[in-house]
């Protein structure tokens, strides 16, 4: 065995070697030990917990959001960690690779964070305010519906059908959003209405 090599290598590490053996030789007290062998602080202490449901598939696993700040108390809440809810009967605290990383979906660098507008033929986005966006949409709906709503068909039957506009609704949103959307879309007479049920 080429023990020389080993000896030489360790010799060069004398600084570290000294520290260890001297500690040992001097008697290894609890305070010093704490410096050497501390466990990382538990990162969820003092977080605010909120019960939520995973946004991906329809197993609908219970999740707990851990945030810095309490939304209910009117504070800004910064999502820090998400974990499966062990009280949930379906997932019992477990999560799949998507659910386990769901925090980074909410914190994605490619979240949409401001209303943007792209002009005809444009090569770039322009910022637009919510007010401007809503005015533009309302005007576009009104003009197109007034121009294209079919009130009666060829036989004179009342049909109140608007075919030149369509709406795809989101299967990741709540029932409450869906119901709001349903009410608005149907009141306009829109028929090209769909969701992700098939794709």
């Amino acid at each position: 065995m080429t023990i020389d090599l080993s000896r030489r290598s360790f010799l060069k590490l004398a600084g570290a070697g000294v520290a260890a053996t001297s500690l040992g030789a001097m008697g290894f007290g609890a305070a010093e030990a704490a410096e050497v062998a501390h466990v990382r602080a538990f990162k969820l202490a003092t977080m605010t917990e909120t019960r939520n449901t995973c946004t991906y598939c329809s197993v609908a696993c219970g999740i707990i959001l851990y945030a810095k700040g309490d939304l209910k108390a009117g504070e800004t809440a910064e999502l820090v960690h998400v974990e499966g809810d062990a009280d949930h009967p379906t997932n019992r605290g477990t999560l799949c690779p998507k659910g386990a990383a769901i925090k980074d979906f909410a914190l994605s660098a490619t979240r949409a964070v401001k209303p943007r507008y792209r002009a005809p033929g444009g090569a770039a986005w322009q910022d637009i305010s919510w007010d401007q966006a809503f005015d533009k949409i309302a005007r576009a709906i009104k003009d197109d519906r007034d121009a294209n709503l079919i009130e009666t068909n060829d036989q004179g039957q009342v049909v109140n059908r608007w075919k030149t506009a369509g709406f795809l609704a989101a299967s990741g949103t709540t029932n409450e959003t869906a119901w709001t959307t349903y009410k608005v879309v149907r009141s306009l007479g829109m028929v090209a209405f769909d969701n992700q049920a098939r794709v």
Partner: protein, 811 residues
Amino acid sequence: MTNSWTDIKNTDLAIVMGGNAAEAHPCGFKWVTEAKAKRGAKLIVVDPRFTRTASVADYYAPIRPGSDIAFLMGVINWCIANGKVQWEYVKNYTNASFLVKEGFGWSDGLFNGYDAEKRVYDTADWDYQLGEDGFALTDPTLSDPRCVWALLKDHVAIYTPDFVENTCGTPKDRFLKICEMIGECAAPDRVMTSMYALGWTQHSKGAQNIRGMAMLQLILGNIGLRGGGVNALRGHSNIQGLTDLGLMSNLIPGYLNIPVDKEVDFETYMSTRGNAPLRPNQTSYWQNYRKFIVSFLKAMWGDAATAENDWAYHYLPKLDVPSYDILRTFEMMAKGEVNLYFCQGFNPLLSFPNRAKLTEALSKLKLLVVMDPLQTETAHFWENHGVFNDVDPAAIQTEVLELPTTCFAEDEGALVNSGRWLQWHWAGATPPGQARRDCWIMANIFLRLRDLYRVEGGKFPDPILNLTWDYADPYEPSPEELAKEMNGRALAPLYDATDPTKLVLDAGKQLKNFSQLKDDGSTMCGCWIFSGCWTEEGNMMARRDNTDPDDTGAYLNWAFAWPLNRRILYNRASADIHGKAWDPTRKLIEWDGAKWAGYDVPDIGVTSKPEDVMPFIMTNEGVGKLFARKGLKDGPFPTHMEPFESPIDNPLNAAIRGNPVARVFPDDLAQMATSAEFPLVGTSYRLTEHFHYWTKHNKVNAALQPEFFVEISEELAAEKGIAKGGQVRIWSKRGQIWAKAVVTKRIKPMICAGKTVHVVGMPIHWGFMGAAQKGFGPNSLTPFVGDANIETPEFKAFLCNIEPVEKGPLA
């Protein structure tokens, strides 16, 4: 799902076919592993690929994409031939004994009444023989040659193990072993569960795939039982809810439907929705349709919906075609017939077939509005991303608005899971930047539009001006207000039907459930099946008691399940004709001589006598339908059909291409290939590391599965000279894509009709936005055709070709 995720632990045999539960629904699949560990249950996987689900299966068999009907009819044929039938169940709880009209028949792959010109069947004879009393005739001995059972036996006789092997590519010994395993579940104390997903729906005959399994489960007596059922594993967190709420072209919340042109007034509309029972004593619950629709119209238009104006029935749009589904809409868009399009949390550029056509269609819009938490490919469809999105922005005149919305962590409300549980969740994080709730966005659009109509007038403004919008903050309706609206409330005092002096519910109070609905305008209810979710006792969807007496898996006090908090549909069928559980260890509800009671909310009138009232209360017959009377456009029984693009001819009739009654637009038909030009079978699917086109925006999931790839067999790789990890080009008649090659033993060539069939597997998760490597999806290749009944695109079986490339565009 007829059952729930947690109920799967009660099964003896799980069959995963037309899905990949371990990969797409890992935490739900947990309950299969639980059943295996605790009950010694077995798991069968039938799939073109040896999937991650297959990796923990007891038995696996390969199948050629798009041949599931042949397999399932083959299993039914084997069960009938080998006496693996739950006879008491079949005789009492299915329409096996019903007599069918003489005109009904099948030959050469087609049912009677086919009109090749119009691509439709005349379904008039797909019906029962009726007696003078209006009830269907039956032969309880099942000996009449016109009884459903006799017709079924005839119908499946052609699906022999040899036929299955030849058509599906499934080795005969593997098929027979699976038949034996399934056949054991015909015993009253053995139960199989079926778990399927888009592997069955995304075909031009998807509905028939599922019917095939539903029929098998009826024959085995496995529907309504713990550990049984036909379980659709829905893909998105609230796709069940959005379907329940009718966010589809032809639906009204609670599976009511939008009228058609010829239903000129409310009574005409109702005349075909009477739903009279077809057998004595049967419930035929849809007889209550009028209560549901009137209460819905009251929810929509309040005081403007009156008995005098047909409850504002004329406010509803009428359909001149079966539906303006996504395929029809993009066809219209590509022809320049659509001006405005809204995408709320939906990325059609990657979700729908034939991407070149999608880009062309979006380019013809005047305005595209995208509301999404993410920057989607659809919102950016006009941006040039080299080969990954090769467009010329200057040539695209579409205006686009990208509106940032909240995501799950920042919003409150309920989602409906696959097992129909409505679960409430709370917001726990501040939205980034200017992101806002979808409700706020929809409210703002609506209120501005209503103002325009108020100020300017315009075409038929009534449904807009009169839409109920009585929220405390009209610009931001609260989840509580909206949920209460869906549950419904009394608009006038409600009195007991048997004792008019007895007040049941005061005006303004939340309904207890849909049994309190009225058809006289005295109740309102946004979605009748959700009724019971937010009552005077509060928010039932927020309940969090996870106790489960006797570990049945029901969890009745956890959240709320529609309908009526019932956890297993058709649960009355878990008991025999006298109301005793088929299997005492699987007791669900039983008849105690006076009423039904047990672990679940009975799916039957609680005092309905067991010998009189049959379990399938939503059907006119009261029983499960082996023969779907007029229900489906493509036949009362499933018959084998090839995909529109198939490597072999239909063995029943070479002249039939795809589903003979599926709608195909002429330009799309011209873009369909033959196997001479494109010999390989492409199929699309999810991977466990990703959720659709969302998680590629997440750096963690992007790291776990970074780049688009396709999977091919070692044999095909050798034939084409493709190296593991090398770049390949895959092309169909509609487009081309590049991918990395995963060469695997998990896909094997199959022999079908004497031909070697190679499968190219293509995951769906990549695009040109987000944190992952830029890539492609199979939708650049897939054909623009859908299921004959519900237009689900045929993503799971199409033709393509593949070649290695020296220097491809990928990272």
